[in-house]
């Protein structure tokens, strides 16, 4: 370990993103959110403002990711941003194939999502089916002014016409690989791993 500072987190070989990379990527995405929303509020500018923004995480790892993004947006812009989570388990189209699983929280800000800019936040964008389920769930929860999508990793292989508005990192993968995002809040460490799936 000579030469590396003691505080630097060590990622195993094969990590696509280290903890420091994850932090940088989240910061960049926060800046992009501010850029998209920053100009609103002035006369003649009908873009949404940061006050209109709601970051809605898709559990499990989208939820802490949304909270982190909100914290960074607030740190850079000085404006607090509303955060929520929406559990999509009951909206999935693969329950019959994959069986039931425990539900997670659905929490929306007190102001709700009507007329606001909702940015869905997830860790990995793959087939797009989670996002479709989240869109269905949002439709039952209110009528946002617009819905956008932010993901930490886009690994391709879409099965639905869905694309992300904010991407932390594009990673070309094969379907036999598996992309794992670990976050401190859930897994005890920040890193993104690409592994060959065990068959």
């Amino acid at each position: 370990m000579a030469g590396s500072s003691p505080a630097a987190p060590v990622s195993p070989p094969g990590a696509l993103l280290s903890a420091a990379d994850v932090a940088r990527v989240v910061d960049r995405m926060a800046h992009q959110l501010i850029e998209r929303c920053g100009g609103g509020g002035r006369a003649g500018d009908d873009r949404p403002t940061l006050a209109d923004l709601v970051l809605v995480g898709i559990p499990t790892r989208g939820a802490p990711l949304a909270r982190r993004l909100a914290a960074r947006v607030e740190a850079f812009s000085g404006t607090p941003v509303d955060v929520g989570t929406v559990d999509i388990t009951l909206y999935r189209d693969d329950l019959r194939m994959r069986g039931v699983r425990a539900l997670e929280d659905t929490v929306l800000p007190d102001r709700g999502i009507d007329g606001r800019l909702v940015v869905l936040v997830d860790d990995v964008l793959y087939s797009g089916r989670s996002v479709r389920a989240a869109l269905d769930a949002l439709r039952d929860l209110g009528r946002p002014r617009a819905v956008q999508l932010a993901v930490l990793v886009d690994r391709g292989h879409r099965e639905l016409p869905i694309r992300a508005d904010y991407v932390g990192k594009n990673v070309p993968t094969s379907r036999s690989q598996s992309v794992r995002v670990h976050l401190t809040e859930v897994d005890g460490a920040d890193e993104v791993l690409v592994t060959e799936a065990q068959r």
Binding site: D87, L90, Y91, L95, R96, M97, R98, G99, V100, A102, L103, E104, D105, T106, V107, D136, R139, D140, L141, G142
Partner: protein, 306 residues
Amino acid sequence: MKRHLLEAADLDRADATLVLDTAAQIDAALAGREVKKLPTLRGRTVVNLFYEDSTRTRISFELAAKRLSADVLNFSAKGSSVSKGESLKDTALTLEAMGSDAVVVRHSASGAPHRLATWVRGSVVNAGDGTHEHPTQALLDAYTIRSRLGRLEGVRVAVVGDVLHSRVARSNVRLLSTLGAEVTLVAPPTLLPVGVGSWPAEVSYDLDAVLPKVDVVMMLRVQAERMTASFFPSAREYSRRYGLDARRMGVLSDDAIVMHPGPMNRGMEIAAEVADSARSTIVEQVGNGVSVRMAVLYLLLGGAPS
């Protein structure tokens, strides 16, 4: 989870907790929404097979299935081929041939759901069989206790009244003890079943002695339709010794709650002023019933079809 929910003993502690947690999540997810409907069970068919009268249980199951977007068939013995003499088995096979994924059954014969479960391929949910069990009622009671008191472990529950005929009592004793609560049955000796000593519960004949020591009082309905012998001298005497009136409510600890599975005999086992008091969870129980039954249907039907 097992494929069927026939009695409270089908649920171990982990399963029962999963049902309650799922119900709580569903409750939270649907709270304050305009569209109280989820697409989860689209294309699944749930049959409500009711051989006995019921208001809240049948409606509750129907609403739970509909909120999960399942198709619901309501069958009641009255006005069906049952009055022409069709057997339970033939009726069940007919419904299965029409493609039902789950059968919710209420029957006056104890054990009917167990028989049914051996004949059909889908899931069977017991919605009350004779004097045997009513597991979803016990789940919604446990859910109500947990949401009011914040816990089940160590909660002291008195179950008062006609234990002999009560499927609610049987299921509750089993489920609540599975979940770590301490149950005391309070009833006149004539209304306690044979073998009650082997149940995971204490037994007392003296309501006044038990009330100050409990967190939950669950009053049971005096089931006039099952009173085939003289179990107590008069309704008045029963009410005086085992009815919950305002005076008795006064000796309860400050945050103790009063429950009743309904339908109530006001003035018999429970006084109107008790039923309508702030301690009473009776209306809450009905609302919680829908969430708990949604959780049960989701957990039984959401997975891979067998």
